[in-house]
């Protein structure tokens, strides 16, 4: 059905242009997926899709490759980082949008957004030179010594207290994704209609009760969208994680010990892979990473539809 308003030739050209540009984006995404999958076909053929996914060996000498340690590393680091970042990000968003005076709120919001603009190599350097010694001397070593004395069973779970490893990587990752979660949550909270709050105040609610009973439930769609954006960012983060995580794909991982992620193994090995099965396996890891991001986005979209309040609700 075409209404009169779209009848003008200029509008038609504009519509066509939009459609073409929109399709281009989809085409590029599809092409990337195809290119990665096609490049990884040798690895998938050699080990089978599930065999490659569940394989735990990554040995360029014996030409045995499996993505499982890196998949696990990616899932653990991004999930824990998100869990760590969520409450501070939400708290910051509430404070900025609801409690702080305007000038202070603007300033804090600006500083948080600035965190997103920092290149990740800067986070990595800060992690190595500031966070790692701090974490090693004040968290890992005391905990490790305590466990050595009181709970020797814990020592294996904790791992070597060198500062480089899962814990430091997760902490930096959490810091990096705070602005993504926070800024979307802030916007969602600001969009809660005045009438809703006033109705609550009229019933005699305190400020905190308004936030808890009205603002947060109403804004949960936006808050959750921010969470998903943060998670996607955490899954794909490469540089800072590579610098801090210790890059060892040996399962099982421990809390302090070195680990590896999908993005880090690609960044590490791509430049020197001479073709053949290793290069193909790296592309296959890239393909799996893309599938993982797709899965996260689909699940997020599904939850978002069920959660959103107001016009978006289906």
């Amino acid at each position: 059905m075409r209404s009169k308003i779209y009848g003008k030739p200029g509008d038609r050209v504009f519509t066509a242009l939009l459609v073409v540009l929109g399709l281009t984006v989809m085409l590029v995404a599809a092409l990337m997926a195809w290119e990665l999958g096609f490049g990884g076909r040798e690895a998938f053929r050699a080990f089978g899709f599930w065999g490659f996914l569940r394989g735990t060996a990554w040995d360029a000498v014996a030409e045995q490759f499996g993505a499982w340690p890196f998949l696990v590393g990616t899932l653990i680091t991004s999930a824990v980082a998100l869990a760590l970042a969520f409450l501070p990000a939400l708290a910051a968003a509430i404070a900025v949008a609801e409690y702080a005076p305007r000038w202070l709120g603007e300033l804090v919001a600006y500083l948080i957004d600035l965190l997103a603009a920092l290149p990740s190599v800067v986070y990595g350097l800060w992690g190595i030179f500031v966070l790692v010694p701090l974490v090693r001397d004040h968290v890992e070593q005391p905990l490790f010594l305590w466990s050595a004395e009181h709970a020797p069973a814990l020592m294996g779970v904790l791992g070597p207290p060198t500062g480089i490893g899962m814990l430091s990587a997760v902490l930096v990752l959490a810091l990096m994704i705070v602005p993504y979660a926070s800024s979307l949550a802030r916007d969602a909270i600001r969009l809660v209609p005045r009438s809703q709050r006033e109705a609550m105040y009229a019933l005699g609610a305190t400020r905190w009760e308004v936030v808890r009973r009205v603002v947060l439930p109403y804004a949960r769609g936006g808050i959750f969208a921010g969470v998903i954006l943060a998670l996607a960012r955490a899954i794909g983060e490469t540089m800072a994680v590579t610098m801090l995580i210790g890059n060892s794909g040996q399962l099982p991982y421990s809390v302090f010990g070195p680990a590896a992620t999908m993005a880090s193994v690609i960044a590490n090995e791509f430049a020197e892979a001479e073709g053949g099965l290793q290069l193909s396996s790296l592309l296959a890891v890239g393909f799996l990473l893309m599938l993982l991001s797709l899965a996260v986005n689909l699940v997020a979209d599904f939850i978002l539809r069920r959660m959103s309040v107001g016009e978006g609700r289906k």
Binding site: A57, W58, D59, A60, V61, A62, I128, F129, V132, P133, R136, P160, T162, G163, I164, G165, T242, M243, G246, N247, S248, Q250, G257, P258, A260, S264, A267, N268, E269, A271, E272, A273, E274, G275, Q278
Partner: protein
Amino acid sequence: MKKIVILVMMLLLAAAFARGVTLSGAGATFPYPLYAKYFSVYHKATGVRVNYQSIGSGGGIRQLFAGTVHFGASDAPLTDKKLAEFEQKRGTRVIHVPTALGAVVPTYNLPGVRAAVRFSGPVLADIFLGKIRKWNDPALAALNPGVKLPPLPITVVRRSDGSGTTYIWTEYLAKVSPEWKKRVGVGKSVSWPAGMGGKGNEGVAGLVRQIPGALGYNELVYAVQNEIAYGAVQNRAGKFVRADLASLRAAAELPDFPPDTRVSLTDTPAPEGYPIASFTWILVYRDLDKNRAVKSAAEARALAALLDWIIHDGQQFNEALHYATLPEVAVRASEANLAGLLYRGEAVIPK
């Protein structure tokens, strides 16, 4: 004397032909500072411009195979399998031209220890296998009489990225330890039994600096320039040698030097030689017309002249940048190889 005159004339001639030619290369990062120096001096002397992208040995070999660069550069020689692939798919042999010698040294962070710690091949292998875990282990203490090694745990640090440095290091360990050879093997990236990885020389050096008790491996140039403590290694003759330019050159003085220069210098039999040394190579097609990047006979001649310049006149720049110069045997072998370069079946360098 006559030879030098001929050489100079040849170079001048080549330069006259080559004026305005631009050559491109890609590969190893390890010799990049040296190559940058070579190419800038060469450009001033002859007008030939050389673009070199230090994207890593593997990338250089990929680009050479794809025919997008005039030459590749690698810290590890091509494997027989890879050479056969070139021969089969590109229809040409690949010539290895060594340009300099480098070493890999064990770097460590031991607070309070001032003397250079001594290692032996088997002990290094056991440490990297995760079998020796403490600095005051009897095996290490026996090598270091008079040095008080602390009871710190050894944190093994290695490269996380694929690297020619790792290739040299693992090749050495495989030669001195049968268990390493069987369990881990040799490669630019291997499946490490122990420790943690840092990306690049700077990554390993950063971790070694950050972690008391860490033991890693770095290129000599990097360790010297950044003043990281590095140890002496016992060579096959039983002597503890600390890597320097003299012990590197000594390592390459082999009686039976192979004509294709694809020689492993690790665990050298030379009595004064440092045992973890290696050449770094420039790789070119023997039949230069098979490389799509080489578009004319003039370009082929310019490339051959450049390589000839590097193995002779270029060598004077090596030592100032902490790379050892080529030994005489390697220069002779390379001269013979360069004389065999062909363009459409004709010799590129006139006899």
